[in-house]
């Protein structure tokens, strides 16, 4: 089963099993293989990726093909620590309707674990999702731009060589 979209939150009592949802399905505490796969996916993406948005409420990390979004709701756990909700998944090839797929799944997950996501947080999440899209197009543009710069530099170099040939030294 390939990961498309998942959510992960630690229990507020710090003793119950973490809530992990994969493709809109809440994983059972004894579903060890899928749970470990999901957590490893988040860890690998977070370590290999680049943080492109890290304001106080939302932290977005992206790699070439995956993302991890850490949302900080207002709830705290039994020892007073902030209890984030982590959203993760593959970056789909077409990002146009990703927001429409993502938000209902997030709402469903948050409701199932009784976490509240404020309207302000929702606004930040939407912005972060747009940044994923923007980052993807930026990547594509950067490749084109790099090729263009290399081409111009090479051309200028050849022209300079021809111009200064026998003149400089």
């Amino acid at each position: 089963m390939s990961i498309i979209l998942g959510f992960w939150a630690q229990a507020l009592d710090n003793s119950s099993a973490d809530s992990i949802s994969l493709n809109d399905r809440l994983l059972a505490p004894n579903d060890e293989i899928l749970r470990q796969k999901a957590v490893s996916f988040v860890s690998e993406t977070a370590l290999a990726g680049k943080k492109i948005d890290a304001d106080s409420g939302v932290v977005l990390t992206v790699t070439k093909c995956a993302f991890v979004l850490e949302i900080m709701p207002s709830q705290t756990d039994a020892v007073g620590r902030a209890a984030p909700v982590v959203c993760f998944g593959d970056i789909p090839p077409q990002m146009d309707d990703f927001e429409q797929i993502f938000m209902p799944q997030l709402d469903h997950f948050a409701a199932s674990i009784r976490r509240e996501i404020s309207s302000e947080q929702r606004g930040r999440i939407v912005l972060a999702l747009r940044k994923i899209k923007k980052n993807r197009s930026f990547r594509k543009n950067m490749i084109g731009l790099t090729l263009l710069i290399v081409g111009i530099c090479a051309g200028l170099g050849i022209l300079a060589m021809l111009h200064f040939k026998g003149k400089i030294l």
């Binding site: 630690q10 209890a83 400089i168």
Partner: protein
């Protein structure tokens, strides 16, 4: 006719003199000229270095160790002095040649102009090379010095444990020397940079590590931290651990909390397997079990320096703890440390105790 002939003769003589002058550009200069060049070069290089120090301070590199900074500056500074001196000598010589050529109206003036182009090109290249070498030397010597030492002699410490036992607290203390201002549950793994830590008489060189989740679902991540993992597509390389520290709530173990015991038993079972596996290919990582939250136990706060040992003995003599040590390889392979991280002093004390166990082992 005679005047023309004389003029032609003079022109030939001047052409010869100019050629000699033009050829001398770039050759060994006279001692006086060399002194002037070196003096000017020294002054300009000093001004440059002052400017670079200002830039370093501006970008926040002023906290580098003074000795490292001085050494870092010395190499490019010496190089800059030499370059500037040679350029001054060349420019002065070239200018003499050009002035002479202009005075004599020689066609070789063009050649001198070419010489000037070469000089300015040399100047430009010198500046570029100076900037790059300055950056590289400073970066390598000052910023990377500890990193190089850590890379060669550093230990990779991995901190594992169930949720809310103090992993992030300890990692933060080791990596920054401070305690976190705000706490959050660790779900997403976080890179922790390498650091050289001095604790009392201990000089610890810790390589980069990772702060991980304490949920059982993170066993896969824990395993990779202990055993290491090569770089793959979309995945960073993970170095194998030299020291594995397992944190547990000592207060709950002393209080015989069943859920904590079940969790610790499962964790130790897995860690023991990984340590055994790691020991097959390389030196077995050192394993230290550190009991935290002792301050939650009323008996701990009443301890004095003399009775602290009794408290540790009481803990290590618990049947659960003895079984735990036995399943992880026995007392020869497992070390135990107890303490509290409620305060900075407590954290420092427990950290020192943990690493003293590692050094003694």
């Amino acid at each position: 006719m005679r005047e023309i002939a004389v003029g032609s003769g003079l022109a030939r003589a001047n052409r010869y003199r100019f050629r000699v002058l033009a050829q001398s550009v770039g050759k060994t200069p006279s001692l006086g000229l060399l002194g002037a060049g070196v003096g000017a070069g020294f002054g300009v290089a000093l001004a440059e270095c002052c400017f670079i120090v200002m830039v370093f301070r501006w970008i926040g590199l002023s906290n580098l160790r003074k000795l490292h900074f001085s050494i870092a500056m010395a190499f490019p500074y010496a190089y800059s002095v030499a370059c500037w001196a040679s350029i001054f000598v060349m420019v002065i010589r070239g200018r003499i040649a050009m002035a002479s050529a202009h005075h004599w109206g020689m066609r070789e003036y063009i050649k001198t102009k070419s010489c000037y182009k070469a000089l300015w090109l040399a100047l430009l290249l010198n500046r570029i090379f100076f900037g790059v070498s300055m950056f590289l030397f400073s970066w390598l010597k000052a910023a990377l010095w500890d990193t190089v030492v850590i890379k060669l002699q550093g230990k990779r410490v991995v901190i594992l444990g169930a949720r809310a036992v103090g992993k992030t607290h300890l990692i933060s203390f080791l990596s920054t020397g401070t305690l976190p201002l705000a706490y959050k549950q660790t779900l997403v793994s976080e890179k922790v940079p390498a650091r050289r830590v001095s604790l009392g008489d201990l000089d610890l060189r810790l390589t980069a590590t990772t702060d991980v989740s304490g949920d059982k679902s993170a066993y896969g991540v824990w395993r990779e931290l202990v055993l290491g993992c090569p770089a793959r597509k979309g995945k960073v390389k993970v170095e194998a651990a030299d020291v594995v520290i397992y944190l547990l709530r000592a207060d709950r173990i002393l209080g015989k909390d069943i859920s904590t015991e079940v969790r610790v038993r499962a964790d130790i079972k897995h860690i023991a397997e990984w340590l055994k596996e790691a020991g097959q290919n390389r030196a077995r990582p050192q394993f230290i079990i550190a009991g935290t939250h002792c301050d939650m136990d009323p008996d701990y706060s009443a301890l004095t320096g003399e009775t602290q040992g009794d408290y540790s003995d009481k803990f290590s003599q618990l049947a659960f703890v003895q079984n735990m040590i036995l399943s992880a390889g026995g007392t020869a392979l497992v070390k135990l440390a107890l303490g509290s991280m409620a305060t900075r002093a407590g954290t420092e004390e427990l950290t020192t105790l943990i690493f003293k166990q590692a050094v003694d082992a």
